[in-house]
Subunit: 462 residues, 2 copies
Amino acid sequence: MEEWGIIQQLINKLGHGKVLTGDALKARYSHIWEMDRPIQAKALLLPDSTEDLSAIMKTCYQFGQPVVVHGGLTNLVGSTQSSLQDVVISMEKMNRILEVDEENRTLTVEAGAILESVQLAALEKDLMFPLNFGAKGSAQIGGAISTNAGGLKVFKYGMTRNLVMGLEVVLADGRVINSLKKLIKDNTGYDLKQLFIGAEGTLGVITKAVLKLIEKPKSRNSALLAFKDYTRVVKTLRWLESSLTGTLSAYEVLWQVTYRPMAAAVFGINLPLAPDFPYYVLMETSGADQDEDRRRLEDLLSDALHHGMIADAALSDSPAQQEQLWELREHMDHVVARCQHDQHFDISLPIGQIEEYVQGVLKELDKIAFVRECYVFGHMADGNIHLIVDKTKAGEESVNAVNEAVYTPIQSFGGSVSAEHGIGMHKKAYLHYSRSPDEISLMQSLKQMMDPLGILNPGKIL
Amino acid sequence: MEEWGIIQQLINKLGHGKVLTGDALKARYSHIWEMDRPIQAKALLLPDSTEDLSAIMKTCYQFGQPVVVHGGLTNLVGSTQSSLQDVVISMEKMNRILEVDEENRTLTVEAGAILESVQLAALEKDLMFPLNFGAKGSAQIGGAISTNAGGLKVFKYGMTRNLVMGLEVVLADGRVINSLKKLIKDNTGYDLKQLFIGAEGTLGVITKAVLKLIEKPKSRNSALLAFKDYTRVVKTLRWLESSLTGTLSAYEVLWQVTYRPMAAAVFGINLPLAPDFPYYVLMETSGADQDEDRRRLEDLLSDALHHGMIADAALSDSPAQQEQLWELREHMDHVVARCQHDQHFDISLPIGQIEEYVQGVLKELDKIAFVRECYVFGHMADGNIHLIVDKTKAGEESVNAVNEAVYTPIQSFGGSVSAEHGIGMHKKAYLHYSRSPDEISLMQSLKQMMDPLGILNPGKIL
């Protein structure tokens, strides 16, 4: 009866078309990587306005009804997982781009808009929304904000947090906090939007955002560099950043173990650089003049070769060649395809200590009989590396053993068990490697204050 | 008795030398701009470690004793004001620079270190801490973080919030939250440090910080531009930013009313540009090659002149000339000296609407008999302008009348009554022009959760 009570109230408030139950849920899923597993939910709601969402939360608050918000479902840590006791809110109808303001260089958008459509709307006005990652064709902007998404452009433009100027959020009790300001600076009390960015939907539901746009670069040049040791990888980053002031826009590293299969898959036998160096860096500049920027980069790389900072280099000659070079970093499916059972990591460390950490982990993984290989690569300039571990064994036990090997040393290096992907369900057990008991206790107090009934994305993070 | 109880306990825990009372307070003040007014306090404490501070807060929590933390006392909104019922904690002894890490480009520091000493420690390693403002010789880094300070480099490097990688904070009850990580990316639950940045000491006491350093630019070029209308000021910003990718580092505007007295004071009769244009922009580039960058800027400005985007330009030829140009913006005391009674404002608006707002405010101020002049200038590229209003009358009534004229239109433009200075005591009455009742109520809940006894910097912000 009570069950029916809340569904009936939701139908009364939203209308039949926005409340799906029973068979209507069968075609729905909780995760874009697991489309064959139908969604678990009491009902799926399709609000198309902030008013709808506020009405939903008021009703759910009254009934103590847990809610899970669904964006593009591309999350990698189980943040959108739900149960039959949950009401799922899909943001897909709130997908309007409300304004692109060229003078203020802002874009105001509903949370359900797809990242790629936001990027395109900016480009139409010769501006750029720099947030970019593989799942951009499915990921929604509200999800990107809720997870403080990273990606390929963080080095130059920062995480999502740095690109959000204003937010509209519905609180657990249905109140609407509207702060859709187009301001770069605003020191009027607590910066409340920071609470919701990266909170994985556990403190409120983001409904709209004002995003920061930047001038679209007019040039792009890329080069692949080879290094003899890790110290030179770090020093060259500093030197290039200093010499290319403001135009260095990417510095991604592949360890040899990753370069070899990737280069073979992308280039066949005509490798851009010989496969016998320990480290490879894919770098990019974004500037104002294609030819001048290329000449400048060429001069710098000649210098670096001459002084032995880099061991070899290949500079792209055409946009097509450039795209191909970037496949080395963007098409990690080539590596995944070689794995029997793949397990992925997204960790961050102080830049200077990455190699020491990696060597230690490789030694630990070596001791595990069912581990075949560990591919290392990542956003080196952000201190963020990814590991893909290839195993001959699946199952929870093997997952836990590899997790322990990778996460245990994180603490002593002052690192993070999740640089960009978040905690969700999958990393909860490892949160204490990155955060102290007092930090976790303060997070719990914050959660209790914002969501006293515990109805917002229950069981995630904490 | 109870009074003596807490002082005695503090002496027992800290030792006599760290607890000043009675006559020992007479030489102390609450504000660097009002050194003649002795501090109001029950006692002044001088912790020299996080342990000291934790012991202080545990004792104060037990007694329900209000505390006010003092940094460099350069705040402009009364954030460090105290009463005879308060215990004041001065951070001056916690002023050690603990580490400059060149590989990770971080600097770890105690909260009481002076901003200028942080800048110098970075420069010694050829790195730069880009936070910079007039009071750098007195302001402490803890205060800068607590107020999310802005200044002259925000356009390129962001507010203080963007420059803080990790914090150590003592909570109201004395618990220490230590998160001194050197990580660019860390999505492990709520980003707790954001709570304390800009909270003006009302949610916790910042004791240490890990700051982000950047490569020191190798070149600096400056130019003064004159404009015929505001639209061109905005368009030229976009065009320069796009053409100078990553090297444009300042774009400050002076309205004619400000340029005239400033230019006369700095240059006498040899003005760099004629005084009859409505707007002047002081711009700066920071790059890697002094001569090449200058040539590039010269070419761009020729283009801009040729196409009528700018009306006139003066490019600096030497570091000395450059310093003199920047006096136009940095030595606002020339303008203050002309005022009978000066009243200062620090507001922000969407960039495109600044001129419309300013024209409206000038009309309102014109109606006030005791207003002589209003000097307008500011960090145009951040949407942040300052007004200095010259009045023939002092006193609360005149202050309130001018406040109303300046703040009332802010709301309809979606602006902020405090871009960088904070709320403190002086702007509390105007907070509601920038924040909705629901936002203020959420701030109150946050304050209640973090500081249930209301002992941290009582009466500030809320």
